[in-house]
């Protein structure tokens, strides 16, 4: 059997011995390593890499001389990364690599992660980084990609026993992944449903999933934290799903105001563009989540609910509810496929359940009224006299889902 290939990424001018050590371990385990040098300084070196930085720079439209004479480190990095992406994709097309493993500090991890982001979901990606736990960086390394981010704890400098231990574990993790069982992540397009959710609507999500799976619809869940729902939009655009149940589209408002669950400017648009049926509900839409260190005095005065030690939701203002409703309508009005909006009348999540501080169905109605005014006529809004987490609400969603998704399957 042909040996599976692993692409190793490192800046050989600073992490040469460490990368060669990983290369050796991968080789010893019966995999075929290809080591690519991401050094950006344009020095000529015999680094022991299989693909030298000259070749990477050339693929990125630059030359070693150009890199060496440039003081613009940002531009050099860009050339190397774009060259590395091109080469990685060529190797992937030629079926010569089956996993990618990078190591680096701050800059090296950023470069390596960019190459990983360009590779498809399901393709094994391991990044060993000494900067993995620095606030803000881990998020930038991972983004919406299915990376394994391995915190080295010690600096990746010098082959000490501690670092060897880390590099061996990382290399063997790749070995384990490539030797193990592999399901191709090609969701069954004729059937699979994407569903966004958050823990405050977990009960509803569970009930809907169970009911749909009983009818042989696989349901793929996405945590609507701003990252997971971006990933959902990207996978919808990739044609992976036949329908969407968007339980928690709060990322739309969070983007408008720049808060933590910000899901980017194109949230709530992919399904409409693809023309697949979508059911929209409202978990978390009536709350905001600014970073706690960024609370203004006005935020301090708002009604609030602590979900746990880390998470607090603040109640949205009436003005914001109106603004967000308009934005929802603008996006949903562009849809080429069928859309239904379903709104619970007794709180939109377990956070604003009756009795809790942020429960306010009167104010919730501001959103509904505005949405009804601005939404195109063929999009129905159904109101259910229950809380989001009540079984009645899940039942209403399921009933609608079966109508909409089954209806479509007849001409798919």
């Amino acid at each position: 059997m042909k040996r599976k290939g692993v692409l190793i990424l490192a800046t050989m001018d600073t992490k040469g011995p460490e990368a060669l050590y990983v290369r050796k371990k991968i080789d010893e385990q019966g995999l075929r390593p290809t080591l690519m040098d991401l050094s950006t300084r344009g020095r000529r070196q015999s680094s022991g890499a299989d693909i030298g930085s000259a070749e990477v720079a050339k693929a990125g439209g630059a030359s070693l001389n150009l890199l060496a004479s440039s003081s613009d480190r940002g531009r050099n990095t860009e050339a190397i990364v774009s060259g590395a992406v091109k080469i990685a994709h060529r190797l992937l097309r030629e079926n010569r690599i089956h996993g990618i493993l990078g190591l680096g500090g701050y800059s090296g991890s950023l470069m390596t992660s960019e190459v990983m982001h360009s590779l498809p979901f399901g393709f094994p990606k391991i990044l060993v980084s000494s900067a993995a736990a620095i606030p803000g960086l881990s998020t930038r390394f991972i983004q919406t990609s299915d990376i394994l981010l391995f915190h080295s704890v010690v600096e990746i400098a010098g082959l000490t026993g501690l670092l060897k231990n880390v590099l061996e574990r990382a290399a063997f993790a790749m070995v384990g992944i490539l030797h193990g069982q592999v399901t191709e992540p090609s969701a069954d397009k004729r059937k699979a449903i994407a569903m966004s959710m958050l823990s405050p609507c977990e009960g509803c999500a569970r009930a809907v999933r169970a009911a749909l799976e009983k009818r042989a619809y696989p349901v793929v869940g996405f945590h609507a934290t701003g990252i997971g729902d971006r990933a959902m939009e990207a996978m919808i655009s990739g044609g992976l799903f036949r329908g969407v149940i968007d339980l928690a589209p709060g990322g739309v408002g969070e983007h408008l105001y720049g808060f933590m669950r910000d899901a980017g400017p194109t949230r709530l648009e992919a399904a409409g563009r693809m023309g697949i049926p979508q059911i929209i509900s409202t978990c978390g839409v009536n709350h905001i989540t600014p970073r706690k260190s960024k609370y203004t005095r006005e935020h301090d005065l708002r009604r609030r609910h602590d979900i746990d030690r880390l998470r607090t939701w603040l109640r949205m203002s009436p003005r914001e509810l109106k603004e967000v409703a308009v934005l929802f309508a603008e996006k949903l009005n562009l849809s080429r496929g069928p859309v239904s909006v379903v709104i619970p009348l007794r709180g939109w999540s377990s956070v604003d359940a009756p009795g809790n501080a942020t429960y306010d169905p009167e104010e919730d109605r501001i959103f509904t009224t505005e949405l009804r005014k601005t939404l195109k006529k063929e999009i129905p809004i159904e109101e259910v006299d229950a809380n989001m987490e009540d079984p009645e609400f899940a039942q209403a969603l399921v009933k609608l889902a079966l109508e909409m998704f089954e209806g479509v399957s007849s001409y798919a």
């Binding site: 983004q143 869940g221 746990d308």
Partner: protein
């Protein structure tokens, strides 16, 4: 003997997924120990360690925990119980790797449990919230945890969730196959822990080369708050024979609220372990206060400490360093003394009087010898008599200074062992 992988899972809702993961791991020749950490209800799958036991070990009772609506109160009990249990399994040789999967709540609890395990034990957290701003770094903290971003929620078994769980199983099995348990100190070459950062780079490199020539292995830690806290924990794990704490900056950053703050316990573990320690004041000459946008935003750190009125070094928008004041270096001298006075082993402090870092040597942006001069008298007054303070008329980033540090540490290690 087969190796054991512990699976932490909320079996009240994730039975099917946990069962799939368990089978995958067992098919690679490992034994599994399934621990139920759920607080919701009865498990859908029979665990090896029940949630009743976990709750009891945490000092609680599963029936009360299930009845409680206050997850913020009961979760810590389950974390405590699970942490106790995994340490017990490790001690019995029944834990060669640990894996868990889930969303925000599970990730917070499971990574807390993983933090109870030493460096070198494979720890894999499969999480749909791995990439979330504000949490991601907290999940990892100072530990060698691997975060795998699942992208999709691990709820139900479909082609996407299966693909994720298969890679996770492969990853933890591979890591556990490679691992020989917690990392132990190598007997051949004594290990020295050293803190360093950009503004002490030359000194760090000299010292490292000199120590290696003397037969030591040096493990450098980046003194940016996380790296140096991680060093403290590895010192507790008994890995090192000595510490060259070139950059104790985390103490003053903690005191003033800077970006490199390293927690309240920095500078304490080496003293408790009784191993030789050598210090410099590098980093007490600056405060990390970026990004620069905080200045315009009227950030509390900037306004309360009046940073805009000080000397400031701005290499780029993010890494902004402000000069520290006389009262602040005196205060840190007292705090450092209090910590070092508790040491059980030998300690020496070296002050380079011509600049504590590349930023405060002559001609550099934060050069302020008058302020620096206030530090030594306070330090000498507050330190225990037997802790020697040497003032050397040189720059920190000079070969001579590095030599002085290494000579001292070498003789201290040789007399201690």
């Amino acid at each position: 003997m087969p190796k054991h992988i512990v699976i932490l899972s909320s079996l009240d809702t994730k039975g099917e997924e946990a069962s799939y993961l368990k089978d995958l791991i067992e098919s690679q020749g490992f034994k599994t120990i399934l621990m139920d950490t759920s607080i919701g209800g009865e498990p859908a799958l029979q665990p090896d360690i029940s949630s009743e036991e976990v709750a009891r070990l945490g000092g609680g009772n599963i029936r009360d925990i299930r009845a409680s609506r206050n997850t913020g109160q009961v979760t810590p009990l389950m974390i405590k119980g699970a942490s106790t249990k995994v340490q017990e399994l490790l001690a019995k040789g029944l834990l060669d790797g640990i894996i868990s999967f889930g969303g925000a709540s599970n990730t917070t609890s499971a990574t807390s449990v993983m933090k109870a395990l030493p460096f070198g034990i494979p720890k894999l957290m499969v999480s749909s919230t791995a990439s979330m701003p504000a949490y991601a770094a907290k999940y990892i903290g100072t530990k060698d945890i691997t975060m795998m971003h699942s992208v999709v929620d691990i709820s139900g078994l479909n082609d996407l969730t299966k693909a994720v769980l298969e890679r996770a199983a492969g990853g933890i099995c591979g890591m556990a196959a490679a691992s020989g348990g917690p990392v132990k100190p190598a007997s051949t070459s004594p290990l020295i822990a050293m803190t360093t950062f950009k503004f002490a780079e030359e000194c760090g490199q000299h010292a490292m080369a000199l120590l290696e020539k003397k037969g030591y292995t040096v493990i450098p830690f980046h003194a940016q708050g996380i790296g140096d806290s991680a060093m403290e924990e590895l010192i507790e794990q008994g890995l090192f024979q000595g510490v060259l704490d070139l950059v104790p900056a985390g103490v003053i950053e903690e005191l003033l609220g800077g970006n490199r703050a390293a927690g309240a316990l920095r500078l304490e573990s080496a003293g408790r372990a009784g191993i030789p320690q050598v210090y410099t004041p590098c980093g007490f000459d600056m405060l990390s206060c970026g990004p620069l946008s905080r200045r315009e935003a009227g950030d509390p750190l900037w306004t309360s400490l009046r940073l805009a009125d000080r000397k400031i070094f701005i290499p780029d928008e993010f890494r902004v360093q402000a000069r520290t004041r006389g009262d602040e270096v005196c205060k840190v001298a007292e705090v450092v003394s209090r910590k070092l006075n508790a040491s059980k082993g030998p300690v020496r402090f070296f002050i380079p009087t011509q600049g504590w870092s590349s930023l405060s040597s002559k001609g550099a942006d934060l050069y302020e010898p008058v302020t620096d001069a206030l530090f030594a008298p306070v330090l000498k007054k507050s330190l225990r008599r037997d802790i020697e303070v040497a003032e050397l008329p040189m720059e920190l980033n000079s070969t001579e200074f590095a030599e002085a540090l290494v000579t001292a540490l070498d003789s201290m290690v040789k007399t201690t062992t």
